[in-house]
């Protein structure tokens, strides 16, 4: 019993230490870098770099490294800073042969941001199905929510928590007509009234097919979108934009990202290399001439520019100075052979994820040896036999310094007498 209890103590201490010590370590040791953004200028047909340093100073450069002042920078990006250019009266009439109409720019300029965190997360599986054709300009949150339970869609009125029978039957029938298999696995939408119009919900059914639900004048419209999509659908990011260029982004389980085009739901894979949606951030900017994809993560920033027929025009990749210096990473490997993370980048859930350190084998080995050595010294100082509790050595061999601290805290097995110390 004491044996179990002692290793329970060691286990408890290991979990807490492996969670907090690396966290504290990186809070103290992680470096900083300047904020960097890369834009593609259709005017100069080159990349522009905007850098903000720790003192709040802005630097503007071309990709060749020529310094620009703010005004040049702004006039090279006419779609992004249209307001300024129009005010100065310097808006070019045509760019690359395409006429620029400043008042129509909001329809053709779109910015979409994707974060790994939005892939998964705790949510309450009730859907606000908005009225997409109410006749009023402003959207309103409806007075009922939809739940897709085992065999049907149910509407619950918010004012008295009652199920609306008629509406539920109406929607269930519409789902069944479209070939939907209950229950739903996941449902995605942008539930906010601050958008120009409503595109409703994208719902993944029990067999992995994707459906699109819109409520217009109280009537459901359910359309099958994707059937037998081999990589499997991981996430759909719906983007209502007044230009109606695309329904949004679709991420599959193999790490591919697709643009879901309006109005036929066809998928265009984005031309991104080395993009891992579980770890990297993606920004998609669209302007009247080009698509512009920025991938940020893994200490690098890469930008791909395509034209509207999705042919790649230019690519650029910039390595950013690493946030974690090599010496700090060596120190981490020396002290922490693994760490436990509560939060992970691609989910909003809290977990306990064990992640082993795979870098710097030598530093790790040295760390474990140092922990072993300290433990030997401690046992010697306490006058304890090295043969006592042999499993301790296993703990130390696997967990290094975490193990050392945990074992020190747990102490020896109570009641065992120290060995007689021989006179030196």
């Amino acid at each position: 019993m004491t044996f179990f209890s002692r290793y329970a103590a060691v286990f408890f201490a290991l979990v807490v230490l492996a969670t907090f010590l690396p966290r504290f370590f990186w809070q103290a040791a992680e470096g900083q870098r300047n904020r960097l953004a890369i834009f593609y200028s259709s005017v100069s047909e080159g990349f522009l770099i905007h850098e903000l340093d720790a003192y709040g100073q802005n630097f503007y450069r071309t990709e060749e490294g020529r310094e620009l002042d703010q005004k040049d920078f702004v006039s090279l990006l006419p779609f992004r800073y249209a307001r300024d250019l129009v005010r100065w009266g310097e808006m070019p009439e045509t760019i690359q042969g395409v006429a620029v109409e400043p008042e129509k720019l909001p329809l053709s300029v779109q910015n979409v941001f994707f974060r790994p965190r939005s892939l998964d997360g705790p949510e309450i599986p009730l859907c606000f199905v908005m009225e997409a054709a109410s006749g009023f300009v402003d959207l309103e949150m409806p007075g009922e929510v939809m739940r897709i339970s085992g065999r049907q869609a149910e509407f619950i009125r918010t004012s008295d928590n009652r199920v609306l029978k008629e509406k539920s039957l109406l929607f269930t029938a519409a789902f069944e007509r479209a070939g939907f298999h209950f229950p739903a696995q996941k449902a995605w939408a942008r539930t906010s009234t601050r958008k120009p119009f409503d595109w409703g919900w994208f719902i993944l059914d029990a067999e992995g097919s994707l459906f699109h639900l819109i409520q217009a004048k109280g009537q459901p419209q359910v359309r099958p979108v994707l059937k037998d999509f081999a990589p499997g659908i991981r996430y759909v990011q719906v983007e209502e934009h007044p230009g109606r260029h695309a329904y949004g982004l679709l991420v599959d389980w193999k790490g591919g990202v697709h643009r879901m085009n309006y109005p036929d739901y066809s998928l265009t894979p984005l031309p991104l290399k080395e993009f891992n949606p579980s770890e990297m951030r993606l920004t998609w900017r669209r302007d009247p001439l080009v698509h512009h994809y920025t991938v940020e993560g893994g200490d690098a920033l890469s930008v791909t520019v395509t034209d509207h027929r999705d042919a790649v025009i230019r690519e650029i990749r910039m390595d950013l100075p690493p946030l974690r210096s090599e010496s700090a990473r060596k120190a981490e490997a020396f002290f922490f052979p693994f760490r436990i993370m509560q939060g992970v980048p691609d989910s909003g859930y809290l977990t306990l994820r064990l992640s082993w350190n795979h870098d710097f084998l030598l530093a790790r080995a040295l760390g474990i040896l140092a922990a072993l050595g300290s433990f030997v010294l401690w046992r010697h100082w306490q006058g304890r036999s090295l043969k006592e509790s042999p499993a301790d050595w296993l703990v130390l061999g696997v967990c290094g310094f975490f193990g050392l601290f945990a074992l020190l805290w747990a102490g020896h097995v109570p009641g065992q007498k120290p060995v007689e110390r021989r006179a030196v």
Binding site: Y55, G56, Q70, K71, V74, Y81, R83, D84, R87, W88, G135, F136, V137, D138, S159
Partner: protein
């Protein structure tokens, strides 16, 4: 021994009074929590089509109701059609905007440009909790406003501190204070108002009141501080001023003077337009100002009453309306409340933000409550000890504190218990 008994006495009173204090804070709060009812503030708009005020509110059971000031009910669409200058986006989308209203030609651009809304709340009267401001560039080439490298506060003059070096920026401080004194400013700075956010269409700088009560306008134009004397005199002492930067650029903002009047500070020559608001009390009432193409609407009020006023383009009243609101407590509940609690200790500042500590006495009905608890206490006394009599300080507690005193006596946290042998005033203990 005097010290000894003094200690005991004061200790007893401290305990007793703190119990009363805690009860006077907590019990009314619990009462309110249990009996409070609420209804959202109705939204009032002026209909230039029908020359009436239109209200959108909700009934106690959560139903939305649209009606006009005469009580006639409408549906949502009719409501929007009656107030087309506010809902212009919808009305234009339905293609049902009248061509002219009151003889004025209506175009989408004119409506959009004529539209402005701002709000005033009583807590705006208080100085901001952290009085630190950036002096933004008001004549920048670029349309995005950007934070400068310094921020300033008032300490007699204006003191600038640089965010890079984290030291006082002596050069800037001197430049600004020179600009102030050149404009005829008499130090020290008494009060300063401005809108320090960068999320606004343009920057109108700060307004500063000097030692003599004059108002000055400070801006940064192309890196240089520019100060102007507004020449505003004779409207009383300015208590609050808000800068409402808006694309319309009709006025800089509004000001509230210490006589409780509400004025607009116009952009042309710093002219002051005083609005004649009936019964407006800046300490208790919130206000919404809505400008549209054809006139101005001012809606103000507190929890009890709500006033609406329509002004023409020349700020002369055209139409007015007032209405009683649903009370937070029903009349029965509020009578019971004032009977139960002879006074209430408020720890929150009522309309401003922050803490307070003050007594709110209830009206005369609280005597009924006090009498009730007096009798109740006597009954209990009779039941427990066989006599109606009680001591002087017990009577005082009951009379002064009503229900609070009753509870204090009930759990016996009252002072002066140590007179063991002595007889008390009423002869029995």
């Amino acid at each position: 021994m005097i010290i000894e008994s003094f200690f005991k006495k004061i200790s007893g009173w401290v305990l007793c009074l703190s119990a009363v204090l805690v009860m006077a804070v907590v019990l009314p709060r619990m009462f309110d929590l249990a009996f409070r009812q609420g209804a959202p503030t109705p939204f009032i708009l002026y209909s230039p089509v029908k020359d009436l005020f239109f209200l959108s509110g909700s009934t106690p059971d959560g139903q939305r109701v649209y009606r006009d000031e005469t009580g006639r009910q409408y549906d949502r669409m009719e409501f929007m059609m009656a107030t087309p200058l506010f809902w212009y986006r919808n009305v234009f989308a339905w293609n049902s905007m009248p061509e002219t209203i009151q003889g004025v030609l209506i175009t989408r651009e004119a409506v959009e440009e004529g539209y402005q809304v701002f709000r005033y709340r009583p807590q705006d009267l208080k100085e901001p909790p952290v009085p630190l401001w950036p002096l933004l560039e008001s004549a920048s080439e670029f349309s995005d406003l950007r934070l400068p490298e310094t921020m300033f506060w008032k300490d007699g003059g204006l003191v600038f501190e640089n965010g890079l070096t984290r030291k006082k920026d002596l050069e800037m401080t001197e430049k600004v204070n020179n600009a102030l004194s050149e404009a005829g400013f008499s130090f020290p700075v008494k009060a300063l108002w401005g809108n320090s956010t960068t999320r606004k269409p343009h920057d109108d700088g700060y307004f500063i009141r000097d030692a003599e009560g004059s108002l000055f306008h400070l801006r940064q134009v192309r890196g240089e501080p520019v100060c102007m004397d507004t020449g505003i005199r004779g409207i009383g002492e300015i208590r609050h001023l808000a800068v409402t930067e808006d694309r319309r650029r009709e006025f800089y903002g509004y000001l509230v003077t210490d006589d409780g009047r509400f004025h607009l500070l116009m952009q042309e020559n710093y002219r002051v337009e005083s609005l004649d608001l009936k019964d407006f009390d800046p300490e208790t009432m919130g206000l919404i100002f809505m400008a549209d193409l054809l006139g101005r609407t001012v809606v103000y009020g507190d929890e009890e009453k709500i006033y609406a006023l329509r002004l023409g383009l020349d700020y002369h009243p055209v139409h007015s309306y007032e209405e009683e609101r649903i009370q937070g407590l029903s009349s029965g509940a509020s009578r019971v409340r004032s009977m139960l609690f002879p006074f209430v200790v408020q720890t929150r500042a009522e309309y401003g933000r922050g803490a307070d500590l003050r007594l709110d006495f209830s009206d005369h009905t609280s005597f009924a409550g006090i009498l009730f608890f007096l009798v109740l206490f006597m009954v209990i006394r009779k039941w427990w000890k066989g006599t109606f009599f009680f001591r002087l300080h017990e009577a005082a507690l009951l009379f002064l504190f009503g229900i609070y005193g009753f509870f204090v006596l009930l759990v016996q946290i009252y002072p002066c218990f140590e007179k063991k042998g002595q007889k008390s005033l009423f002869g029995l203990r």
